[in-house]
Symmetry: C2
Subunit: 288 residues, 2 copies
């Protein structure tokens, strides 16, 4: 059974430092692996990409005559990890060791091969009439993660991170996806290539923007959702940077522009909330 009997007790050990290093881009690039923190995300990684998990690190506590896994939630994940076709290596560690690696471990961490999620557009089949959520230059990890989670809930076939977006393997992004990172491909692509890629796969590019562009004014979302050809067809819904939106160049290339009507005094919704309202609205309209 690949549960190591040795207990990791030294927060200053080299191994511990190397794992903690996966929280940083350099550490991830060097190792080709990334860090998944906390029971929710680790459970989903075990369920959906067990073959890509290199190691699990689980908190144990010392009892009078043995070390035991710290709580039943962690135990259930360890059990599931041993049901996989090729069982996952489990390392037991003191809470101090886990805490040294990540303040957000909540007792459990997984080290996962980068290849499991950071996919190349060319390597992913998005199918007929694909439904894609796209982020352009989205920088905040919480926003990117929440968009990935909303895209998953809406039944999207993929998420595209376009241009200079936050790294989807940043631990804060991974955590905000609540496991959705392991449910659908997250593609990275250059700004120049995105619209061609979407058109090449038969998608209408719908830009989320309050103002629109010359000759491309925004349509209110409820009106757009009445267009059954659009909502049932291939489509990529594109969300812009938190501060600067999509910018004129991206807007000019979009096929349609959609805006969420505001019925009160708020100026706008935030990015992640807007994305959820649009994506879930499209999904509901397509399933009508």
């Amino acid at each position: 059974m690949p549960i190591h009997s040795e207990i990791l007790t030294n927060p200053k050990a080299d191994r511990v430092r190397r794992i903690a290093d996966l929280a940083r881009p350099k550490g991830r690039d060097k190792a080709g692996r990334f860090l998944v923190e906390g029971p929710q995300a680790v459970r989903e990684a075990v369920a959906w990409t067990p073959g890509a998990i290199r190691d699990l690190y689980v908190a144990v506590e010392e009892e009078p005559d043995a070390w035991v896994v710290a709580n039943p939630v962690l135990e259930a994940i360890v059990d599931a990890s041993q049901q996989a076709d090729s069982p996952i290596y489990v390392h037991l560690a003191t809470p101090e060791v886990l805490d040294r690696i990540s303040k957000d471990a909540q007792g459990i961490l997984a080290v996962v091969d980068m290849g499991a999620v950071a996919a190349d557009p060319g390597a992913v089949a998005v199918g007929d009439a694909p439904f894609v959520a796209a982020c352009y230059e989205v920088r905040d990890p919480g926003n990117a993660g929440t968009v990935i989670r909303a895209a998953d809930a809406a039944g999207c076939d993929a998420v595209a991170l376009v241009g200079d977006c936050v790294d989807p393997l940043n631990p804060k992004v991974v955590r905000a996806t609540a496991g959705s990172l392991f449910h659908l491909p997250v593609l990275r692509m250059e700004a120049d290539g995105f619209v061609d890629w979407a058109h090449g796969h038969g998608m209408t590019v719908v830009a989320a923007d309050v103002h629109g562009a010359d000759g491309n004014p925004p349509e209110p979302l409820p009106a757009l959702l009445e267009d059954q050809a659009l909502v049932r067809g291939g489509k990529a819904v594109l969300f812009g940077n938190e501060a600067h939106g999509l910018g004129p160049a991206m807007l000019a290339k979009a096929d349609r522009v959609a805006t969420i009507p505001i019925y009160g005094k708020a100026e706008s919704l935030n990015l992640a909330t807007s994305a959820a309202v649009m994506l879930m609205g499209m999904a509901a309209a397509a399933h009508r």
Copy 2:
């Protein structure tokens, strides 16, 4: 002109400590005032509740022969504050002083009377067919603030914080509302009284819950939105605690239960995102 010519330069001054204290519940209760941080929220406070603002604190920088307001964004807010019927007191401070009060000031802070927003249900007229967003035991400041912002965007008449919720005057809540705290009344009430209050004002209580209760199964949101009598009538949409949801007692008292269909592999949406999807969906359906 109530712009004080004295520059606050001492981060250790008693006055600075007292303002910083407003970030804590005790400090707020003692002073009867709360802290509003950053340009976006302060701008909205100046626009919507100028009479309740005790003081503005604005960052200045030293130039060869004078102190000047640090940037044009701050200058515009200071200008607006002097257009109010009774102009607002503006204090100039070094960035170090503002930083000592709040790491999230971004150059500007307002001290506001608590009476301006923490309203008593009895004192607020919600009108005919009111639309209310309600949070039950919601604890995370970011969630509560984002729900208040989404409720504002959806055109809600009020937000009700029911039972043991986070304090809406917590600086993190204030910031997450992006000014919406000053756009609509935020009421606090006991769990026992909420349903009676809602019914007394002709509202149908719609609980957001995946499971529902015995005899009160969840209806998928898209089906619920087809019910024009519901969406155009008085309604309170109730969201539960992040970890424990609404619980059987609250669910049993609700008139309807609504759930957001999930089309992909995600287990759920997070609280703030769910609230935005439901509230904006209801608003769009009512305006159809």
